[in-house]
Symmetry: C2
Subunit: 390 residues, 2 copies
């Protein structure tokens, strides 16, 4: 019997996956709380136009092999449930499981014997085997240890803009909460992901994704720290980086910090867990790199103000344009955007700050409570992505 | 006129370079304070047998095209001086320029107009343009700004064991203290290094080498930190690392810390310089990774003692063998060896510690004030390179 697959969460990570699964010949039920989004998908409209290749998939399968709905009941005929909903962290850097708990309780209510549930959202280690299992067992009345359902973790490895090619070409791992779950999840995923690898447990699978993010955060932190040192020593950081990098050296690019849903969040999963276990010294480097990255907006703000002193106007009359407010170039997403935080920080200092971003129309900028300007009309332009002052 | 080249310092970095230059058809005068070493080289004997390909070069050129001497006067006919002597740091992590100053003052005394001097030793930024220039000008009476001699920095990029192939295949950079010096140094080096690149200044060249080391130190620190976290969470770090690493992720291998002359030293060059300039927040990550790496011996010592508790003997009677005491596998070098530090730390705790290292004979171990044991005779073996407890 062909697997009938539900994808819970049709966001930047879930929708490309749902599209790829449909493209591989499966009937897919997509569940998302945003009913407007579901209707658009069912009309064949792609809500994430910047995702290369996704529009074709949604046009071909939306409302046909891929049916989107806000009703979990519509997925009750499915035997595979892939959950890929956001996990936010609160102001104290603790994960807020609210959205995820609602999703799994929704799945639990329609879960039948021998069904498989896979979590793709990146989560703190052991989340799948503890919280997720408890939510599913509580709602379904089924027992994992009795072999009544299967549960695994397979971290998404997408990157907005290239998610489809990542799904088709990148290695992907899956680990079960028990051996049978891992084997069953591998069997299912191998039908639509070419390069699948089973690891020994769900916890290892969770950890794999977290440490990828930690590697990125620490190395961006290192690049930012080295940029500050190079500037202090009047050395061109980019020239030095070009020649330092080779087969064994991968110094990253500096930035205004690290934004988005992933990299600035994952290190906290480990830092907070080590705090809980009172192993404070086990996450010193992760914490330091988080701090270095978050403090970069202060560094850039001081550089911007210093340069604005050269404009022949009182400081608070210099029209400053922050060009680029998304967390990453080419992705229309403001979550944890350090570029936006930089603009707001300069505003708090009483400066005359405007923003420009090629992904946002003037009215969208205004709706964010920001002032819009064309770069050409500003006295001073800071390009957030190129880190260039014009 | 063919350049006549002197290489000052015939250690692990200088001797392979001298051999490669001689191999390219140049007359090379090698200067080293160790006269016994010089005599051996002149007899065609290689004092660094673990360096692949070096024995052939020394056999072919030692005492012929490559003449080693302890007398700077013997190099007075040379017009190119390459200095590649060690730079140590003291107990407060400040560089000790003593050896380097003596070398440059030795060169300064025989320096003639239009000669080129190149420093290859990795040094704190701006050392070439400040200290080195002053030593040379003071001894020679020549003026760099008057164009009377040329001065540049070209950081060695060797790695004991593969130094010859590094010199033949790896990109190498050079930067002058002024434009003419950079151009002249490039011209000379291109005659024996195939992949030379000129950068804008000696300071940039210095910085390039330092940040390569910082990248390594921070990433080894990250690996060590993630290993501790994985252990705490009962996750197999090596399994997770295998699947986390891909084109954009290069998580390093954990260790007992970082030893040798290079990686544990270079971050301090930047940390100390930032301290001197009172930019304390500019080196937080570099300092944290130094600390994480240095503290790994405490972590391993606790793990070793915990495992020794399972041996049916009083703790201080368990014969513990630390297998591998050099700073890196395959290199007979104990400088900053964390494996040796680990053995000594366990001894300080009153444990019955022995060591074994395939590069050291029993009598050499005894001369170091350590006890020798064959691993098979020990109750417990810690393999420092594999991080395995047997």
């Amino acid at each position: 019997m062909k697997d009938n697959i539900a994808v819970i969460g049709l966001g930047k990570a879930g929708l490309p996956l749902a599209g790829v699964i449909a493209e591989n010949g499966f009937e897919v039920t997509g569940v998302d709380i945003d009913s407007g989004r579901c209707e658009a998908i069912n009309r064949g409209e792609n809500p994430i136009p910047e995702e290369a290749g996704l529009s074709e998939l949604i046009k071909r399968h939306g409302g046909k092999r891929l049916v989107a709905t806000s009703d979990y009941g519509a997925a009750s005929g499915c035997n595979v449930f892939i959950v890929i909903v956001p996990l936010f962290i609160d102001e104290f850097q603790n994960p807020d499981f609210g959205i995820m708990e609602r999703a799994f309780r929704g799945v639990g209510r329609i879960l039948a014997k021998q069904d498989l549930v896979v979590l793709e959202t990146t989560v703190p280690p052991a989340t799948t085997e503890t919280r997720v299992r408890q939510w599913l067992e509580a709602e379904s009345g089924l027992s994992l240890s009795a072999g009544e359902f299967y549960l695994a973790h397979s971290p998404e490895r997408i990157m907005t803009g290239v998610s489809i090619s990542r799904l088709r070409e990148f290695p992907k791992v899956v680990g079960g909460v028990d051996i049978e779950s891992g084997a069953r999840a591998l069997e299912v995923y191998e039908q639509f992901i070419p390069d699948m690898h089973q690891v020994s447990s769900a916890r290892v699978a969770e950890f794999i994704k977290i440490i990828e993010g930690c590697y990125r955060d620490v190395n961006i932190g290192l690049a930012n720290e080295l940029l500050k040192i190079a500037d202090t020593l009047e050395i061109d950081f980019y020239e030095a980086r070009e020649y330092a990098n080779h087969e064994y050296c991968h110094i990253h690019l500096p930035s205004t910090g690290v934004g988005g849903h992933c990299i600035p969040v994952y290190p906290w999963f480990l830092v907070k867990e080590m705090e809980r276990l009172e192993k404070f010294s086990h996450s010193r480097l992760l914490r330091a790199s988080r701090e270095v990255n978050d403090e970069m907006i202060g560094y850039w703000a001081e550089k911007i103000v210093t340069r604005c002193m050269r404009v022949e106007k009182p400081l608070n009359e210099v029209k400053i344009c922050v060009k680029g407010i998304t967390f990453r170039s080419g992705v229309k997403e403001l979550y944890h955007s350090r570029n936006l935080a930089l603009a707001k920080f300069l505003m708090e200092k009483g400066l005359d700050v405007y923003v420009y971003d090629e992904m946002f129309a003037e009215e969208e900028i205004l709706e964010l409570g920001l002032k819009f300007i064309e770069p050409v009309d500003a006295d001073f332009v800071f390009d957030s992505f190129q880190l260039v002052m014009i």
